[in-house]
Symmetry: D2
């Protein structure tokens, strides 16, 4: 009970209580809600997410996705064989956090996911396999283990598996943010991806994939990255270099034994996508990260190695492929058993742009 | 039924149906949701808000607020005698739109609303009355008819009515956006506002209130405006000037007979608050606005005059004090009977910063 | 002699000397210059301007300008009866500093300076008098004591004296910067200013002159300010407020007893002009400024009061109307006798944008 | 004679002439210059540079530089064995254009150019040879044919030739801009470069050299690029890709047969250096560029191939190593004989930031 209520309660006469009850009925009839009865829930002292920390095991996700491939075709309308990971704290909504949507997508040999576009930003991160090309605005982009592939908002895209093995990957989108704030637009494209071409490197990589080099004809800032693929070989090399340089005393790592790269938009240096931050982290064997909490929510996937996460004092062991949801203001840290490689995405850019983001290191 | 479902339905054997049902049960157990069964709802072709267009009449709001003053004191815990206008399409949530919270706040003679601060941005817009000073980070700011008063995120603020008449005004905050995305921080300040001083002009106006003049010692961009009060006399003069200049053939009005000013941050020229756009519009007698729809949601309050709004083909007459909620993608226009003055706020800056905002003129 | 030369000198044989002399002749023939013979001059340890600190007295400038009005008409070709103040350290060039051009401009009763436009940015600052309207892109802007009037690059402008008394003012332009870097474009406009209208307030003031209010139809960042006039009444009020607030313990002054405002572009919060910073400073009677030096060069004009400047240890008394040139890296401070009001402009924005600006407080 | 002068000349009496002569003498004594006598020169209709288009032949430059190595040691004071290319239109100043300084620098086997730093931005572009490491803030950066190496303003740097052959390259700096505007600061560092290490890749390349990947610990915008080396293999691949994609109908080239990349700062997408634009252009055999003129001045060096430049209607044949100065507003185009590779730098970012840059295509 708030002080206000307490004081109100001082008006203890039956008449007062009756008038108050009548007032609240009238408020309700008018669709009005007194702040004094809702302030604590609406405006907590710090974020109190309904979403909960959660771990999904790839070993559970993959067989379910595979079963769906036997039973449900991919096609226009449903659009994708993607199955989202719903946060247990958000029942009824297929949301991984209040702003982020993570899913496993599965494409069987020879399958083709039709083209569409939407205001939602999207990416694919590949844990394993290859053989799928995603076609982004006509540009065929190979998908292989360790790669991050972008689909910025309103870019047409479809996927096709040209190999004879199935392929599954992690999809990340800002679907909850866009849905809950009514910003969604969607449009169908061709039912089949518009090119069967399967080049080693996409056009976007050939134009934008040399470090620090911008095609003069395409210069100028864009909201999202024009580079559609961030290849594993580059990510791996960048992480390895940070750790080697740490040995030489050259600054680069995020903290001792902890290398990290952010996928960025070469036209601005900002995050590769407008609403989501994407990063890859590597911990040396035995290293740990300092516990932090941030008002951003995030999703992590173990790419390689084993270790554990501490989520508000609950320790969870994780291994290759496991997906972890970290709601806002959850105290969070990593501990590596062997070398540990982890991909992550979050909604941090949204709240940075709105001057709302807060991050705090544990004492 | 989607094509995908249709094709799936082609698998018509009882065994297939049984296996599919089992798969969906297993998905549910795992907290997983197939996109093909939710795509239409999650990713509509254009925004399909649950929020509905709605009009509240000041004549209804004010007496309810006044009644609450007789029955409920203002104090620590409840913090404010503010009653929010809940959108009928969002039952259970005291939200005016999915991102915006509008309320009537009421302070009786001699009352004092305690100081607090929060990450939510806030403003007050004064339809009528005077006698209250809001104290923002120690700066006493008079509130009078037609004024817009800011409380940027994390600024301490309290209110006190030093007059012998009650005062009511419109409060606008980004409470829903902050609450639903878990960005809220809140802190109590002094139980009484920290100064009883009631100057004509606040410090912020004396420092920042001369057009185009920046104190050298305070130069540099800030996320929100350092000017806490936008006075009616200035707003009125700016609107009048636009219409006079229209008569002289000088560009300035938004469209024929329609003057409009945006409240801006003098350190950047951007919106005065980080998450909300605030504007004041004036229509000449008989003038109308072109119908538009935008992915921003907005709230409007008639300041003076009479007229009507067209909300997706539903015409509503409005008068002084009436508050209108306009969800995203609602086709919307104004028609003035006499000269019509309207205040409005929206979530447009959020979606501009995220490259999501879309606006469309009617044909 | 540099170490390099010293070591070279070690090669003391006559043959070596002869070969070296021949090499230098060959360099000269090829238009080549060895850095080792020019490094000290080209790349000094700190700025070593050729321009020198200098003071011009208004009492000298005004009669000369007045005499020219008797002898030289204003018209197309010469364009303006403006006489620039050439820095004694830059003989041959009519430049006040290496980047700035300051002049006294004089317009006799009934005279009309023809319209033109140029890439150079310009302003007028009015020490005394009134009766002239400058017409900027068709907008008639009154000029009166204490006002700053802008002419952003490439805006057409002319001046007319509609009164029966002559008027003189200070012109400031970036002519040297633009000339020496070959950025100048120039175009004639009408031989007579395009409107004889003499309104109290210009269109630009009516559209942009309310603090923090932006016409919605004109929103968006512009390189230079859309507000063409910054009126003395506002400047005076802003300075007075800073000093009053200082008495109340509210931050605002630049240093004790020293109020200062910068003229800014309301669409961005940046300097009103793209290449020049314009400010007005007020010192309480008896107050002084801390000695500073900066790599920007500046020009100052005493608007009112008396006092002195310290220019690299040389103290100069100044009074109303006196103009002071302060080259880069000159140690500089003010001392007020009575209350002292001073206008200034500098090239600081150029070097801020290029990450070259340095400023240093005296120990 | 201007109209003004013409009208003045109407005052033909001897007395008038005498008084005018006296006025001009008094102006001169006061250091004042009438605009009406200087306007045409100060404010031309379009840029009229004193600098002239000019071509230097590498075949002339290299032997001169080599001769100097026999006669002049490298060391503290002279600092560098760099010989600048002075524009014939700017006699007395060792400037290639009014803002740019281009030089050939030469380091003999075993030589060591001492460390220093300065506010001037610098780069090295390598036409031929290898064996030198430039050490930038302690980071040893190999220099090889086709590479662009940066030395942003105020970074300590020295060079050492660890090979047994001499090496020469093109130095580019903004010395004239900085010198003429008094922005220069300079500081000596160690007399010997601080590390003898000669790694294949510099620290900066290992941290920043993966496309689109930013070390999380180093994120944030910086004025200049943190990547010190742009390797030829990447430049070559980017140019080749643009031409291949042109064959496939994918946009990327600047104009038909003309590929071009800009060296950019990965933290911002802007030019790699704050005051100079650096680019590499490739023309297919037989291709030509459309004639343009711009208010930027530029310097070009032929990296490979042969062709010709048209400089205001004067055609000059150029070949490998030749250096061309292109003053502002010179009409300029390239014509390739065989495939032509050209490096260029200009002052365009300066004037872009100041909203002064103009570029015009020939009709």
């Amino acid at each position: 009970m708030t002080d206000t209520d307490a004081r109100a309660a001082g008006f203890e006469s039956a008449e007062h209580q009756a008038r108050l009850a009548e007032l609240y009925r009238d408020f309700e009839a008018a669709g009005m809600t007194p702040l004094w009865r809702t302030r604590e829930g609406l405006m907590p002292f710090h974020p109190e997410p309904k979403a909960v920390p959660h771990v999904w095991h790839w070993a559970d996700l993959l067989p379910l996705a595979a079963r769906s491939a036997e039973l449900v075709p991919v096609g226009r309308g449903g659009e994708r064989r993607a199955i989202s990971l719903g946060n247990p704290g958000l029942p009824g909504d297929p949301y991984t956090t209040p702003t982020l949507w993570a899913a496993i997508q599965y494409l069987a040999p020879g399958e083709d996911a039709p083209e569409h576009r939407h205001s939602q930003s999207a990416f694919r991160f590949v844990l394993q396999g290859e053989g799928v090309w995603t076609v982004v605005d006509g540009d065929p982009v190979a998908m292989r283990r360790g790669d991050l592939l972008l689909t910025p908002g309103w870019a047409f895209h479809g996927h096709q598996n040209v190999s004879d093995t199935p392929m599954a990957w992690l999809d990340g989108l800002d679907i909850p943010l866009v849905a809950e704030t009514d910003q969604g637009f969607f449009e169908f494209g061709p039912g089949q991806v518009r090119t069967k071409s399967t080049p080693e490197r996409s056009y976007s990589e050939r134009l934008w994939g040399q470090p620090g080099l911008t095609p003069v004809a395409l210069a100028g800032t864009r909201p999202a990255s024009p580079l559609m693929a961030y290849r594993w070989a580059h990510t791996d090399a960048a992480l390895a270099a940070q750790l080697e340089l740490e040995d030489d005393g050259i600054p680069g790592v995020t903290e001792p034994g902890h290398a990290a790269v952010r996928y960025t938009n070469p036209t601005s240096g900002a995050d590769a996508l407008t609403t989501m931050r994407t990063e890859f982290h590597r911990l040396r064997a035995g290293a740990g990260t300092r516990a932090t909490r941030t008002s951003a929510s995030s999703v992590w996937q173990v790419f390689d190695g084993t270790g554990s996460v501490l989520l508000d004092n609950s320790k969870r062991s994780v291994q290759r492929g496991d997906v972890i949801a970290v709601p806002a203001w959850t105290q969070f840290s990593w501990q590596a058993a062997g070398q540990l490689d982890v991909f992550t995405f979050s909604d941090a850019p949204v709240f940075e742009k709105l001057s709302l983001l807060r991050t705090e290191m544990a004492g």
